[in-house]
């Protein structure tokens, strides 16, 4: 290709498509380069008939292609047609692998060796990246594929799945689901167990294996691929097996390396970081623009608007106001002062310390997620013990913290520029004190996800938050009238350390005397008794460990290890002892806590001969529960199988209290010593499900519940991220007749979730509901609390939080 185009657009997702359509519309010479042989591969790969949602609803679409909520097929058709009719210049099978030159004169090299010349480049390649490839000989043969769009499409084949993560297992189960397809399905796992995948998937895979539907090869890897055959390396040699198709699910590598190879800088080294961008989406490589998911905007509507805008910018219309301008204006309208949006953005960015490092574009995005609030003097911003994990920054004015619950008159000020609310953000625990405005105050409330993203992408923000959190945690935990000045020395030498699950911070018998504050995650305390570790105690985030040796000297009397991935603040023992000498109240405070812990210790000592069986039991149950995620739970449903009669009234109650869909599966899940952890949300302290929710639909509610709101687009990401398999994708069944009609006249399916047949028979066409993510919301908003527990006739179902269940309560159980 000799002709140079004004704009080369790389990647034909919604962002690239919209950019190309607009370029065509306004007559700018362009080429749209797409790696695959079809448009918009990410959306093309959604499962069939996936309902695609068009959120955020209040955002207007500003693109030359149409997009409204609808089925995947419809949307792709509309786009295909729009692109053809609009005269867009598309090149398929054109994967860009390198770029040289500079603004005004770029040369893009494709994998097939072709070159494309362009003045500017729009990079809209999304975040999918490239699947990791099979590297053994024959790995490039055509029957090796990296995706499985429709498991129903293959019949009577010998299929090997390589890679036993969740994706691989789900594919294997999908292919083997219908015996009528008569596929011979095998899954190949490099390690000996399936620990990389979710429990629910592993359980299903094991069941499928035991039923003879799937063969599993562990500690195996592909050695060679030939037409019709695969050779596996297994522990005792090599074996050659019949194989018509290989589906490799080896994970994918993010596109970051490629992007950086174009000279584009990212905001930080963190995995969640995005490219640095100007307000016009220009990267640090002049002439190269990044939009869409790669720029940090995963929603289709945003992608499309940016596609339109970026072409306008490149074409010289640099003053075009972004499409989210009206949303931001509306958000800021209630504030006193009446500044224009850009001025507010600048004001907030300048005043709030942690926002200083953001670009104007990042500020915009930030504000979309955040709220700016105005409080009059003495208005409450949040209350002690309320649930909340957002972070606040003070833009003007100041606030006061009521550090003493008994006497609200005792307050500590926080001034403009600083932050508060960080403890809830870091530990996921309740607010420690009530905070009020001291004067008329403007704060920006940053929701957890946005705050985490901020910390991940801006180093200064991370350091500031860490510094402030450590100081405040220490002051708050140890109380006793300490001031920042008192602890300055201790803090200066403090360290924030990340602790892997199972790693010990303190070992029984050691001579150390540092003290640790658990800042996130949780710890278990063990002692060796009769050669075996015995579980003593559970330390949630916000508490400390290691005070006994510190105060009383002597060797460590127990081992403290992380139950889950955790973060601790390590405070130097020598410096802390100096502090203790100065502050006798602090010694008293530590001793008070020690006495409760010591009681447990003495109790165990006393019991250990009489009840060694009980202690073993206690330890093993505690371990089981921690393994089941109770260590990171705030509230978990347990079923005492010594009482459960299997009536499933809990499930029925859940369904009847929630649009006819049960959010718990009583039978599924793990059981140990008659304690059953059913498949139901644990309301994790740091919910994994929130990791990558495009519309940010997952929140923590006022009772601590993790819930999904109605903006869920049904992408299934949360389902994939939740390690406990508690999220299901479904839509509410049709409404059923009331209880009285069922009792008296037998109308409808009766209590509980209707069965599939009834749902289908009674489905109303076009009722507007679509599959969304469904999970336990702890019955928030329902008076009386969890319906599952209330409706259990025998008392088998209970909801517990770890700190009061993972305790001596277990000992009592063991003795019964």
């Amino acid at each position: 290709m000799a002709d140079k185009v004004r704009i080369a657009i790389v990647g034909s997702g919604p962002a690239g498509l919209s950019a190309a359509a607009h370029a065509a519309k306004i007559g700018v010479s362009h080429v749209l380069l797409e790696k695959t042989d079809h448009l918009s591969d990410t959306i093309y790969s959604y499962q069939k008939k996936k309902y695609v949602m068009a959120t955020p609803t209040q955002l207007v679409l500003r693109a030359d292609l149409d997009f409204e909520a609808g089925y995947r097929e419809t949307i792709l058709d509309v786009w295909n047609k729009g692109i053809a009719d609009g005269g867009v210049n598309v090149r398929y099978n054109a994967e860009v692998k390198g770029v040289s030159g500079e603004k005004g004169d770029f040369t893009l090299t494709l994998t097939n060796g072709d070159k494309v010349q362009a003045e500017t480049i729009i990079l809209s390649i999304g975040t999918q990246g490239n699947p990791n490839l099979m590297r053994c000989p024959g790995g490039d043969l055509p029957h090796v594929q990296y995706q499985l769009a429709d498991p129903g499409a293959y019949i009577d084949e010998h299929i090997f799945i390589i890679g036993a993560g969740d994706a691989g297992i789900e594919n294997a189960l999908g292919l083997a689901a219908d015996p009528a397809q008569a596929n011979v399905v095998s899954i190949v796992n490099r390690s000996a167990d399936f620990s990389r995948a979710k429990d629910a998937n592993v359980t299903n895979l094991m069941a499928a294996r035991d039923a003879g539907r799937v063969s599993t090869y562990t500690e195996a890897s592909p050695a060679k691929v030939e037409g019709g055959w695969i050779t596996l390396e297994i522990p005792d040699g090599e074996t050659r097996l019949k194989c018509d198709r290989i589906i490799a699910r080896l994970g994918s590598s993010p596109p970051r390396k490629f992007v950086e190879s174009l000279g584009i800088e990212f905001t930080s080294d963190s995995r969640d970081a995005y490219p640095k961008l100007s307000p016009n989406f220009e990267t640090t490589a002049p002439g190269v623009y990044v939009i869409g998911a790669l720029a940090g905007y995963p929603l289709i509507k945003h992608c499309m608007n940016q596609g339109h805008d970026v072409v306008e910018y490149i074409n010289g219309n640099v003053t075009l106001a972004p499409a989210d301008e009206p949303i931001l204006a509306q958000k800021l309208a209630h504030l006193p002062g009446g500044l224009p949006v850009a001025a507010w953005l600048e004001f907030l960015r300048e005043k709030v310390e942690i926002l200083n490092g953001l670009s104007p574009l990042q500020m915009r995005e930030f504000l979309i997620d955040s709220e700016v609030r105005f409080y009059r003097a003495d208005e409450v911003i949040f209350e002690r013990n309320s649930i909340g994990s957002s972070l606040f920054g003070i833009a003007s004015g100041s606030v006061k913290v009521e550090i003493n619950a008994a006497n609200p008159a005792i307050t500590v000020p926080i001034s403009a520029g600083s932050i508060f609310g960080e403890v809830g953000l870091i530990s996921g625990r309740r607010r420690g004190s009530t905070i009020r405005a001291s004067e008329d105050t403007i704060v920006i409330e940053i929701p957890r996800n946005a705050a985490l993203k901020l910390m991940a992408s801006v180093k200064e923000a991370r350091d500031t938050v860490n510094r402030i959190t450590t100081e405040r945690t220490v002051l708050q935990i140890f109380g006793s009238g300490l001031t920042a000045h008192d602890v300055a020395d201790v803090l200066a030498k403090s360290e924030v350390k990340e602790i892997k699950p199972g790693e010990a911070i303190i070992r029984e018998g050691d001579e150390s005397y540092d003290i640790y504050i658990v800042r996130r995650g949780s710890m278990v305390v063990e002692r060796e008794i009769g050669g075996k570790p015995v579980f003593l105690n559970y330390i949630p985030a916000g508490q400390w460990a290691g005070e006994v040796s510190l105060v009383e000297g002597g060797k460590r009397n127990a081992t403290v290890r992380a139950a889950i991935r955790s973060e601790v603040i390590k405070l130097d023992g020598d410096l802390f002892r100096i502090l203790l000498n100065r502050k006798p109240e602090l010694v008293a405070r530590l001793r008070a806590e020690m006495s409760t812990r010591r009681r447990i210790n003495e109790y165990i000592d006393k019991e250990k001969d009489k009840f060694s069986g009980v202690l073993d039991y206690y330890t093993s149950v505690a371990k089981f529960l921690v393994d089941q995620g109770v260590g990171e739970a705030t509230d978990v449903l347990l079923i005492d199988e010594r009482l459960c009669v299997g009536c499933d009234n809990c499930e029925k109650a859940c369904a009847d209290a929630h649009d006819g869909l049960s959010r718990l599966d009583r039978e599924a899940g793990r059981t140990y010593a008659n304690l059953h952890v059913p498949t139901s949300c644990r309301h994790c302290e740091h919910p994994h499900c929130m990791t990558d929710c495009p519309p940010n639909a997952i929140h923590r509610g006022p009772d601590g519940e993790v819930f999904i709101d109605n903006t869920c687009i049904g992408c299934g990401n949360c389902q994939r991220f939740c390690p406990y398999g508690v999220i299901r994708m479904d839509k509410p069944p049709p409404k059923k007749p009331g209880l009285a009609s069922w009792l008296l006249f037998g109308m409808g399916p009766g209590p509980g979730e209707p069965d599939k047949a009834w749902k289908e028979a009674n489905a109303k066409a076009g009722d507007g509901s679509h599959k969304q993510a469904i999970k336990c919301d702890m019955c928030s908003g329902i008076k009386g609390g969890p319906a599952c527990v209330r409706a259990c006739p025998t008392g088998a179902a209970i909801r517990v939080s770890p700190e009061n269940f993972l305790s001596v309560a277990l000992l009592d159980r063991g003795r019964e």
Partner: protein, 291 residues
């Protein structure tokens, strides 16, 4: 710990770990015992001549209490299924149901004053006793069987058993391909004539005399195995599949048996409750109108 206090406060007793019999420190047991004690004491103290029975003030009082209790006990089925909001616990209801239900035995008997005959009054009494006895059976089953249910189930679910059996059937059909006619017929006994649940008696006893799968196993072993020919290997495969199926069937049937015991008494308890309500109405009507 403060956060706990907050949660506890707005969550009634959802975190209390007590079974329905122990609920609230045996609260309802004590209340029921007190009710019985008061009734008996009054019965002995009043010691009227002729002996107190339905017609006296004391008798009316007991009768009214009894009838109200029966009415309330009958509402349990609705309470169980109506998932309303508000602080209630079905466990507390069941606890009260069980203990107050048993106390009816005392109240009803005292109310009748040990006068029985062939009439609607005694019919109502007999039905009441019948319901109560069946209820006691049920409560006992609830107290002891869940443990066995749990032990048998391990970490598997009913759905998994059904799937396992279904896929073993598919494998059996494949595995029977190379077999000769009689052998294939034996395999078909398993794939076509095995019922998992069966009749009520099967389910209750856990005995399945005509079970297709066990017949298939004995047929196959009777037809003889052994040797190394491909045919013998095919028979071995079939035999091992049949045995795996048997193990799953046994587990599923043990489950079904326990569930049957846990449920069957309700098929007496509930219909007889309706009969009792009818007889009770007749009893009350006849007392007021024909007395």
């Amino acid at each position: 710990m403060a956060r706990q206090a907050v949660r506890q406060a707005n969550r009634s007793d959802v975190r209390k770990h007590e079974g329905f019999l122990q609920h609230g420190g045996y609260r309802w047991l004590w209340i029921a015992l007190a009710l019985c004690a008061v009734s008996i004491a009054a019965y002995l103290m009043i010691d009227a001549e002729p002996r107190p029975r339905g017609g006296t003030i004391y008798g009316y009082t007991l009768g009214t209490i009894g009838a109200l209790l029966i009415g309330w006990l009958s509402l349990f089925g609705i309470r169980k299924r109506a998932i309303t909001t508000g602080v209630y616990s079905l466990k507390a209801w069941l606890s009260a149901h069980v203990y107050l239900g048993v106390s009816l035995l005392v109240i009803g008997t005292l109310h009748a004053g040990f006068h029985f005959g062939w009439n609607v009054h005694t019919l109502a009494y007999a039905l009441m006793v019948f319901v109560i006895v069946s209820g006691m059976f049920g409560a006992a089953a609830y107290a002891v069987l869940p443990k066995e249910l749990s032990a048998n189930r391990g970490e598997t679910t009913q759905r998994q058993w059904l799937e396992t059996i279904r896929s073993l059937d598919a494998l059996l059909r494949d595995a029977a391909q190379p077999l000769d006619r009689t052998e294939a017929d034996a395999v078909r006994l398993s794939t076509e004539q095995t019922t998992i649940g069966g009749s009520f008696l099967n389910r209750l006893s856990g005995q399945y005399p005509g079970c297709g799968n066990s017949r298939a196993i004995s047929e196959i072993s009777r037809l003889g195995r052994g040797g190394t020919s491909p045919h013998a290997a095919a028979l071995d495969l079939v035999d091992s599949l049949l045995k795996r199926k048997q193990a799953t069937l046994d587990q599923a049937r043990r489950h079904i048996r326990l569930r049957t015991i846990l449920e069957m008494w309700l098929y007496i308890h509930v219909p007889v409750t309706f009969a009792l309500l009818a007889a009770l109405t007749a009893h009350i009507v006849s007392v007021f109108f024909y007395w």
